[in-house]
Symmetry: C2
Subunit: 399 residues, 2 copies
């Protein structure tokens, strides 16, 4: 047999790698670090275009080393095969002498592994939180990253467009969701929802209808839902989809390793007037935010813009939930579903060209259910942010 | 709207909670800790029967406190609502005075959060690795846990039995997998693959056929496969399922929050003689290990038993992979797919009644593909381990 993996470890074109490394080293220097060492899957993928078992080391002068544990067949320059983290020590010591400060992925890596890496680096080295370096670098996407996200957006929208064909009267939210999952998978969806932070969990997204929309969940997502089981209490719970009750579809958009996030609201029969109005307000907020989302704009101002529009429309009781209100209206997205910038009241993020964000002004209306639109946008150097999840934003008839 | 979550935080019956807490406190004392504080989803679920946003604190004397952030509607005794980890400090100080040693989930929780919890506990407290306490407690299942696993096993087996109905000639491994995913979901599978350890990722399991079976993956699973994308390089890769080529199905068995792990090998047409022989050997090893798997037996001896049987059959080149050989033959399973005990050459685990393990002696044969059986077993107080994934172990015809 011929292994597909007797290929380069580094899959990124040289100029693409150089662009990413330049961002990483710039933030590294700003934050007082001499190098970063990353072994978590999201950052390995960012720095090589693939997930492997091992580490990538980036020094402030731009040198990159790869420490490869598995699959050991991968080829390329600056690769050191390791069996355990301690095997990295001489190579790192050779690359950065003196008393370096090394950024480790403290927000993404368990305590015991960071402690082991610290020991490996030796008493002469200090460790710092490199997660913030990578978060800042990854927040500003390159052209290639934006293309990969846009490719996900096209495919996600094409599945969403076909959902009326998938729906059958008498379905529960779960039955509808299982068919949507299948359609997404058949269109090339990888399924995996990559998330940052230890306690976020979701399977392949959420379909919410009726009363279930108001069940709060433990997770920091925009919407809740009781879910199928107390071991994973979020999303669809078996509620029957009834005529005139909106169905909010917010499913996985990971087709390329780079995700889009997209929500559309569907209805069998006629949606109540308040649902139509709330959905239109959601689309209007998305558009208004995208027009305001220019480089230099504070993200908290975008959240405030959403709140003003909601208050003017008299819909504040329903905004981002009813029993429980989520405290944001949008979030950065890319390799994971929760990146920088965050569109929230106390966000300190300021937009830059190349930021990508999902905007999800949603409403939960008692007796009606969850309603709203979510799109993924790219912040441009000039002009409004550019939507990459293009599809009719009205409530879409299922029948 | 009526929230489903205006119910007890603690879903476990009082006697079940007492049994689990007794195990936790016993290991806590053995390992020199005065309390453990867990906030990761797997351990929250173990200690309450649900996932929520917050922490469970267990003191060595058996007192339990719940620190609840979200959903704040949950009711019950010994619940303290918190907004941030620091709000736990006075309650913990009140419960354990002096200079306590508190076990934190160092293998499961990011460094930065553990550092924050350590600060919250104050200078008077020491921290220790509580992950091992929880791992040891969770390795020995209660009757209720075994019932929940057995319920998953029944449903997983019932889906596997029907897979010939789902297969259509001309399918690729991915097309077959998507239909299996749908069948599993329709049978109540939660989808979520809960894993321990930071770098393991998988979507909903793997279907392997043909040459792809020998593609090594970065992940520490028994089998590899190139996968759909370098961002998630494991499993099916679009290989056409050809007549006479085995198809190994190893998909998600999480129906209850407690998983089973189960593999069967299928074939369209006639399987080559060597595949039949390897599959029979796999089933024989599963059975031999289950007969030997009694309380007090060393897990490394079970691994050695498998290796002896493989060597006697002249199949060592193919055992647990061909280009790359995985270094184990079985693993504990329950809330996550990788628990104690581990059936591996350097395992120090010794079996106890109530251990549950998946046994997966698999073979990758050049020119043929991946072949083998995997079952989940419960170690009994007397007699052989008890299989809870019961289905014909021969290669199953797809047509």
């Amino acid at each position: 047999m011929q292994s597909k993996l007797e290929e380069n470890l580094q899959l990124l074109p040289a100029d693409e790698l150089a662009r990413r490394v330049a961002k990483v080293t710039s933030h590294m220097r700003d934050l007082g670090m001499d190098a970063v060492l990353a072994g978590d899957n999201a950052n390995l993928y960012y720095l090589t275009g693939r997930v492997f078992c091992g580490y990538v080391f980036v020094a402030a002068d731009g040198r990159v080393m790869y420490f490869l544990r598995r699959p050991s067949e991968l080829k390329g320059d600056n690769i050191h095969l390791i069996r355990k983290p301690e095997d990295m020590a001489p190579h790192i010591a050779g690359a950065i002498g003196g008393a370096p400060t090394v950024g480790l992925m403290m927000d993404d890596t368990p305590y015991s592994l960071i402690a082991r890496l610290q020991k490996m680096l030796g008493d002469g080295a200090s460790i710092a939180n490199g997660s913030q370096v990578m978060r800042l670098a990854r927040a500003v996407k390159t052209k290639l990253e934006i293309e990969m996200m846009a490719a996900s957006g096209v495919r996600q929208a094409s599945v969403y467009r076909e959902l009326p064909r998938v729906y059958e009267p008498g379905m529960t939210d779960l039955e509808f969701q299982f068919e949507i999952e299948r359609e997404l998978r058949r269109a090339g969806c990888l399924g995996q929802f990559r998330l940052s932070g230890p306690e976020l969990e979701i399977f392949m997204g959420n379909v919410l209808t009726g009363e279930n929309a108001d069940n709060p969940s433990p997770y920091d997502f925009a919407m809740g839902g009781a879910g199928m089981d107390p071991s994973l209490p979020v999303g669809a719970d078996g509620t029957l989809i009834k005529p005139g009750k909106p169905v909010m579809v917010d499913m996985n958009g990971n087709f390329t390793g780079y995700m889009t996030d997209m929500t559309r609201t569907y209805v069998a029969g006629e949606a109540p007037e308040i649902a139509v109005r709330a959905n239109r307000l959601s689309a209007d907020i998305c558009r208004a935010i995208s027009e305001a989302a220019r480089p230099g704009v504070e993200c908290k101002a975008l959240y405030e813009l959403a709140v003003r529009m909601v208050e003017e429309a008299g819909m504040a009781d329903y905004f981002m939930g009813h029993s429980y209100h989520a405290g944001f209206v949008g979030h950065g997205i890319g390799i994971t579903v929760n990146e920088m910038p965050v569109l929230a009241p106390r966000s300190r993020d300021v937009l830059e060209a190349g930021n990508t964000y999902a905007c999800e002004p949603k409403f939960v209306i008692p007796g009606v259910g969850a309603v709203g639109v979510e799109n993924t946008y790219v912040v441009e150097a000039e002009g409004p942010a550019h939507c990459i999840t293009v599809l009719d934003e009205n409530i879409i008839p299922l029948l």
